[in-house]
C-alpha cells in the first residue's frame, strides 16, 4: 500500500439553514483513510454521517474544507468532473438500494459499465463475476421486485463495484435489512475490500457491524472521534 492516503478530508464545515433553523452538521472534520481499508462511520441519528459521506462523494459541497480522493480535489470539480469521478473512482451504496425496477439484476449491475462504454463481451464477463462474488449467480435474470431485500442490496453492491472504483461509500447499507441479512451484507463488504482492493467507508448504527471494520470513526455533533476497531459502540464515552 502507498503511503499517500486514498481519502483525505481537511477542515470540512457544513451548515444547513439560517437563523433559528441553522444546523452546523459538520464542524471542522479532518481525517485520512488509507487505501484498501474498511472504515466504519458511526454516530447517533443526526450526528452528520450522511452529510459527511455526501461531501466526500461530491453529492454535496462543504462550506469550507477540502476532500481529496486518490489525489483529486473533489470540492474543486465541476458537475462533469464529478460525473467522471463517480464513473471511475467513487461509487455509492444506499440504504434504499436504488435499483432500476424494470432491469434484471444482471442489467442493473451492468449499468455503470454501460456508462463507461465497456465492450459488451467484457461487460458480461464482469457482471457474471460480480454476481458470483455477491452470491447471486443464480438470480441474474430476476428483477429487483423478485428479490429479497438482502439480495437487492447485494445487487447494489455488485453494481457499485462494477466499474472497479477506488472508494465505495455506503450509507447505512443494512438499515432496511434484518440483523442477520445485514450482517451477511456487511461481511460481503468486508470480503470485497480483500478481493477487489477497494476502500470502503460505511456508516452504520450497528455495533456488530463495527467489529468487521479495520477502523471506526465516531462522529458526534459534527466532530470526529477516532476509536479503536472492534470496540463496542455502547461502551464509548459520550464526549460533549
Amino acid at each position: 500500500m502507498s503511503s499517500e492516503p486514498l481519502l483525505s478530508v481537511r477542515g470540512v464545515h457544513r451548515r444547513f439553514g439560517t437563523g433559528p433553523t441553522l444546523v452546523h452538521a459538520l464542524r471542522g472534520v479532518s481525517f485520512d483513510v488509507a487505501a484498501g481499508s474498511m472504515v466504519a462511520l458511526v454516530g447517533r441519528s443526526g450526528s452528520g454521517k450522511t452529510t459527511l459521506l455526501n461531501v466526500i462523494g461530491g453529492l454535496d459541497r462543504p462550506d469550507t474544507g477540502t476532500v481529496h480522493v486518490n489525489g483529486t480535489d473533489v470540492t474543486a470539480l465541476d458537475e462533469d468532473g464529478l460525473s467522471l469521478l463517480r464513473r471511475e473512482k467513487v461509487s455509492y451504496v444506499f440504504q434504499s438500494f436504488g435499483l432500476i425496477p424494470v432491469l434484471s439484476a444482471a442489467e442493473n449491475v451492468a449499468a455503470p459499465l454501460r456508462l463507461a462504454r465497456v465492450a459488451p463481451a467484457q461487460r458480461e464477463r464482469r457482471v457474471e463475476l460480480l454476481l458470483e462474488l455477491v452470491g447471486l449467480a443464480d438470480h441474474a435474470r430476476q428483477r429487483p421486485t423478485e428479490l429479497s431485500g438482502g439480495q437487492q442490496q447485494r445487487v447494489a453492491i455488485a453494481r457499485a463495484l462494477a466499474a472497479s472504483p477506488r472508494l465505495l461509500l455506503a450509507d447505512e447499507p443494512t438499515g432496511q435489512l434484518d440483523a442477520e441479512t445485514g450482517l451477511s451484507v456487511m461481511a460481503l463488504l468486508r470480503g470485497v475490500v480483500e478481493s477487489e482492493g477497494v476502500t470502503v467507508l460505511v456508516s452504520t448504527h450497528d455495533a456488530v457491524m463495527m467489529a468487521l471494520a479495520d477502523r471506526v470513526i465516531r462522529i458526534h455533533d459534527g466532530h470526529l472521534h477516532e476509536q479503536a476497531a472492534g470496540q463496542p459502540y455502547e461502551s464509548t464515552p459520550d464526549v460533549g
Binding site: 454535496d60 460525473s83 463517480r86 461509487s91 440504504q95 455503470p112 456508462l115
Partner: protein, 916 residues
Amino acid sequence: MNRWLTRRWPAPHWPSIRGRGRTDLGPLLLTGAVIAIVALLAGAVPALLRAAADNAVQDTVRRAGHDSNVLAHADWERDDGPNGGRVRTAGLADDIENFRARATYALGPDLDAALLPPVAVVNGPILSVSEGNVPRTFQFTYLAGDLDGPDVTWVAGNAPGPAVPDEYIEVPYDGPPWPVQVGLSEADAAALGLGPGDRIPVKDGQGHDKNVRISGIYRPADSADPAWQLAPALLEPVPGADGVGTTRFGGLLSRESLPDARLAIDEDQLRRTVHFVAEPDALTWDATAALASQVVKLKAVSGSSVREEPLRWESQLDTTLRAARARNSAASAQAAVLLVGVLTATVLVLLLAADLLVRRRTPALSAARQRGAALPDLGTELVIESTVVAVSAAAVGLALARAAAPGVHWAWAVPVVLAGAAAGPAFGTLAAARASRDRRQPANPTARRWIRATGQLRRTAVEVAVLIAAVAAFGILHQRGIVPAADDGGTGELTGDLILPISALALGALVGALVLRRLVPLGARFALRQALRSRRPLAVFGAARAATTAGRALPLLVLVSSTALASFALILGSTVTRGLADGAWDTVGADARVDVGADAEAATPALAERITAAPGVDQVVVAQVTDSARVFSESTLLAPRLVIVDTAAFQRLLATTPLPDASALARLTAPGPGDVPALVRSSRGELRAGTPLQLSRDDAPAIRLTAVGTAPSVGGAGDVVIVDVAALADAGLPAVPNTVWVTGPGAARAVSNIDVAADVVLRADVLRTQRVAPLTAGLLRLAWTAAAVLLALGLLGLMLAAAAGASERWQTLTRLRTLGLRPRDARWVAAGEVLPPVVVAAVCGPLLGALLARLTLGPLDLRLLTGQAADPAAVLPWWLLGLLSVAVLAAATAVVPVESALRRRDRLSEVLRAGE
C-alpha cells in the same frame, strides 16, 4: 365494553384541514379553477343554446315567409233569391268581419298570440286582360284587417262605390255582366294606361266579358303594411304570378263594391280567406310544440263545423316549426355530445390533480396515520376540504355562467363537482390506508402474484365495463340516433334514455385510450429490449424509465382522450364549416347568380356579355330556369325545376366549382333523331333514367323528352330536369334565358351594378347568412371552444402528470447521477420518460378523433345545420390536427428543460434525502 359505545362519528381535526389547505394551496386552487371554468362552460352552453333555439325558431319562421302563415277558408252561404236569381248581399263586408272573428276565435289564444292580427282577403278569379300583346291578368281583391284594410289616399277619382243604392236586388243568372267598381294603384293604372271611369277590358276563363270599372287611383299610406303582402298586385304589377311571361294587375274593392264583386262573377268564384301572418318575434322555443300541435289539430278538424259554414285551415306552420324543432334537437344533441366529451376529459384531469395532491400528501398522511389518526377522521377531513373547493368553485363558475348567459343549467356541472369532491378523499384515504399496512411487498412469490392478479382483475373489470358501455352506446346511437323523438308533446330536453348515445363519443375516446394504455407498456418493453441490445447507455436508461412509468394509466388516459376529443371537435367544426360552404355553392350554383326579372328576360344575353367582359370573371353561363315547369311522366304531372342551358358551358362551369361534376351532361348534346335527351333528378324517385317525359306548352304540342341520366342538383332543388338549349331549339322551343351564373374573383363586382331588373344572389352573402344563423353559429362556436378547452385540459393533464411523476423521476435520475450520468444526459433520460405517452397521444389522439368522427358524425344529423340535402362527409382538417399535435409535443418538450432549470440549484444530496 358495548360496541355501541365505541362507535362514534368521525371527528375532523380542523387545524389539520387548515394546515393542509395552506400547504397545498396551489394544487387546490388549480383544481378549483378547472372546476369553475368547466362549470361555467357546462352551465352556460345549454342556456345559450336555449336562447339560440328561440332565435332559431324565429329565424326559421321568418325565412319560411308565406309558408308559415295560417289560413282559414270558408265557403259562402248561397245567394239564391226567391225568384231564381242571385240576391245582392249589401252587408257582405260585415259577413267577412264575422268570418274573421270566427276564425280568430277558433285559433285559440296560444296561436293568436304568435300571429299578427288577421287580415281577411276576398279574391276574385284570375281574369285575363284582353288588350295588349303580352299576357296580362287581373284580379280584384278586398282586404279587411282590424281597421278595415290598409289605408290609402285617393289621388284621382273616388273609392269604389256600390253599383246600386242599398236596396234589395235580385239579379237573374243570365243577365248582363254586373258592374263592379275597383280602385287601382298608380303603378297598375300607369301600366294599364287607364284612369278613373275607364272600364278594364277583362274576360273570365270562359271568355265572358266582365264589367269592371275604375273608380279612382289610390296611393297606399304605408306600402310596408303586411296586409299588402297578401295581394302584392294591389301595389304594382306582379310579373310571373300566373306563369312565365305573365303580369298580374290588382283591383282594390271597398266595403261598398264588395257585394257587386260577388254578383259580377259566377257563384263560388269569389274566395274568402283569413290570413294570420306569423309574428316571428313572438315565438319562443317553449311554445313551438304546443303551436305545432294546435295547427295540426286545426287542420284535422277542417270542415267539421255544423252550425255555420265550416272553416278549412291551411298552413305549413306546423311543418316549419317541426323542422325548427328537429334542427334544435339536433343542435342540442350535438352540443351535448361535445359537452360530455369536455366533462369526461375534465373528470380525468381532476382525478390526475387529486392523484398529484395525494402524492404530495402521502408522507404527511402516513405520519398522521402513524400518530394514530383514524381513517374515517382523515377521510372526513379530506371530504370537507374537497367539497368546499369543488362546491365553491362550481358556484363561482355557475355564477359567471349566470352573468354571461340568459339562465344557467347546473345539472351538467354535477359530474365535475362530484369528481372534484370525491377523487381527493378517495385517493387520500387509500394512500393513508396503504401507509399503515406493511410497506414492503410480501416476500412470498405466490402472495405477490396474487396481489398482482387481483389488481389486474380489477383493472380488466373496469375496462370491460367501459367497453360494454361504449358498444351499447354506439349501438343505440346508430339505431335510434341522438335527436330526441320529435313528437309535439316532447319538451325537446335531453331525456335519460339519451345519456348513453350522447356519451358514445366520450366512451369511444375512453376505449381508445384504454387500448393504448394496454399497448404502451408492451411498446415500452419492446423498446427496452431493443435498447439493451444497443450500446447507447442513454437509450437503456430512457427506455427503462419509459417502461417503468408506462403502466401509469391516468396521464395516458387524460392525454389521449383529450387530444382525441379535441380532434373530434375540430373535425366537427371543419365539417360544419365546409358543409355551409358546400351548401352555399349548392344554393347559388356559382360565385354569383343573376335572376333576371320576367320583364327583362330579353336583355339577358346582352347582360351576360357585359358580365363576361368585366375583369376577374372566369365563367359565365346563361340558362332558362323555370320552377314548377309542367312536365308529364306518363299521365302524372310533375313540377320540377326545368333548366335549359348550353350543356358544354354548364359542364365547364361545374368543373371549376366544388360542385359535383356531371359527366352525364355530355349525353344531352349527342345528336340523334327523336326525343330531346334530358337529365333528371327527383327527390322521391318519380323521375328515372329511361322515363319518357313530356314538356307541355300552352299553345303548341308538348315536346317529348327522354331521361338519359341523372341531373346534378341545381340550386338545391329536389326535382330537376336539364335539357340542352340547342337540342330544345331544334325541337321547336327556343329558350328565353333568365339566369346568369358567374364565377371568378371579380364575379361579385361584375354583377354589382347591372342595369337590368334582376335579383343578384352572391354566394358570399348566402354563406354569411348561413354562418350567422343562430344554431349554426352557436354550434360552431361551441365546437371551437370545446377544442380549445380540451387542448387546454390535455396540456394541464400533461403538466399535472409531469408534476406527479417529478419527484420519483428526479430521484431516479439522481441515483443514475451517482453512477456517473452527466447532468445533460440526465435530461435525455427524463425525456425518455416524459415524451412517450405524449408522442402516443399526439399521434394517436387525432387518429382516434378521426375514427370517432367517422363513427359518430352520421347519427349527429349535421345536414340539419348546414342546410344540405345529405349529411356532409367528415372533413379532416389536417393542419389543425397537426397544430394540435405540435402544441402537445411542444409543451412536453418544454417540461424537461423547465424542470431541470427549476432543479438546477438542488444538490444531489438533497434530492436523495427527500426520497428517503
